[in-house]
Symmetry: C2
């Protein structure tokens, strides 16, 4: 295992301390590192709280700040945050407008958020993201997995909350964005969880995992390594057929690296995916390319397409000031 | 070789096309993809032109835009851009205030910029960055290599040019920033150049290359893999001893990933490096953590420390709108 670490048990704590120190202008770390919150919470707006296992950085802590999340709860690597983490995060940022939890569709994540919502016993609601078209049921989820599309839900709902939208409006908006968002991933290599010390799954030198999950969960099939165009074609086909959007629909295309894939390759995949989606009649009007929802050091990427309308385009464009997204 | 590519000869062209399409609001691609320029060049200010071999993305094209570079010339992977690329880029963005070339200290990069400056035969000047303390002389350079510190020179001088500083002022500022900037890198794995198809150098499963260059050039020594703190200690010691800054000096700390290292590890290294630099009396007042000056898919990172004063801090903080840096 070749990683920059000191001790396996301290990876998350030391990384969070670094994150909080590097971005002290934007965020603060909760007691015992249970959550990352906006440095100056806005008590008059709906508070957005997300979280999940660590190892997907910058998701979610990197999206805490003006115009996006109010708090994020980092679980241990690939492990759900505990209900008490989520309760404390909600209490730290909640005002009278209520708390909206945004959670990826993962059985334990969802259960812990439900428990937290009961304990918090206030004005709360939950959005569950499930954008991954690769498989209908996975290792940790009943129904589709929530993956990189979560970023888009967090950005658009965060912008609405920042403008003063109430809880019901934020929920409806988040569900609308999630329903119009589809993703699919592919792994060229496995990731290695520090506590395990060895790769999560074995891939031959000439193999890739098509439809992989962001924890290395199995995808649709193990196949021979293929050219970028062939990979992009399979992924865009799966996404577009599932979206079934009318010709001329406007969309955001997110090409997301899994942690071990360099930028030069992500833009090459963007080029292929954009061309293919436009051939299918979609109009790519917004783009994001980078490693935003990662799987530790996995080489691979995901494509996400999210249909936009005038309202969601304006909310996507609205100012955001977080560690990982700024405009 | 596990990469998202179609054909080895098309990697750069397809990646550049994707980059230009994804960021069409900020940049435009020159004829035959010879350069990337600001979508709307400002003809009244000094034009900053940089470039170098590709494979270091987002450097340099990712830094083209308001408040940073006016144009960047991408050579083939790890290969200098040609003089005619540099001349055409300069002609595309030059106004009456002149052109400032910013070039990493690499023998061929420098020669080609000198030839371009002669051909352009106008009001031009050149800043050469040489921030790498690892070795005094390397495979491709006489004198120290220019590495991630180049980003800091480009950001600070870009802000000054945007505010209307003249050519002589920009040159003096860039030389001052470069003289106060030091970097050092470490590789946990080699990179793989697409055209070669195999790793540039061989590293054992328990080895790392301390002081590596961004093309995989040899560093100070091949050593056994060590804990993050031990790695950070060797790098911060080399940097701080060379900088020899008075106690209390204010500095920017850049922790830069080489392409295959995930964000969670970069923040862990930031945490270690920051603590060590502060123990040496430096005050870390600005931070940047991410993969900005990469070496294809190499796992590894570099640390850069740049001493700041009131003027350079304000220029670092000035608004920037590029693909890779925005605030």
């Amino acid at each position: 295992m070749k990683k920059f670490i000191n001790a396996v048990d301290n990876v998350l704590a030391e990384s969070l301390d670094g994150f909080a120190a590097a971005h002290a202008d934007l965020v603060a770390l909760g007691a015992e590192r249970k959550f990352v919150r906006r440095r100056e919470p806005n008590r008059n707006t709906v508070a957005l709280v997300s979280g999940g296992g660590s190892g997907h950085e910058p998701l979610h802590a990197g999206f805490v700040g003006h115009g996006m999340l109010d708090a994020a709860c980092p679980g241990r690597v690939f492990t759900s945050p505990t209900p008490d983490q989520i309760v404390e995060a909600a209490q730290a940022v909640a005002g009278d407008a209520g708390v909206l939890f945004i959670v990826k569709n993962d059985s334990v994540d969802r259960m812990n958020v439900e428990m937290a919502a009961e304990i918090a016993d206030g004005k709360t609601a939950t959005i569950v993201t499930d954008d991954d078209v690769a498989v209908e049921k996975s290792t940790y989820s009943i129904g589709r997995r929530g993956v990189a599309g979560t970023l888009i839900v967090e950005k658009i709902v965060g912008a609405a909350a920042e403008k003063g939208a109430d809880l019901a409006t934020c929920v409806a908006l988040g569900e609308r964005v999630n329903a119009r968002t589809r993703s699919m991933g592919v792994a060229l290599t496995s990731c290695t969880v520090p506590a395990a010390g060895t790769p999560t799954f074995a891939l031959g030198e000439d193999e890739m995992e098509m439809g992989v999950g962001i924890h290395g969960e199995p995808g649709r099939r193990r196949v021979k390594l293929a050219a970028a165009d062939a990979i992009a074609s399979e992924m865009t086909t799966a996404i577009a057929e599932d979206l079934a959007a009318p010709a001329g629909s406007e969309a955001l295309l997110l090409v997301n690296g899994f942690g071990g894939t360099p930028t030069i390759e992500l833009y090459l995949m963007y080029n292929a995916a954009r061309r293919m989606l436009e051939q299918r009649g979609l109009r790519i009007v917004r783009s994001l390319v980078g490693s935003y929802v990662t799987s530790l050091d996995m080489a691979g990427c995901s494509l996400t397409v999210s249909l936009l309308d005038a309202e969601t385009t304006a909310l996507w464009d609205a100012p955001v000031r977080t560690a990982a997204l700024k405009w």
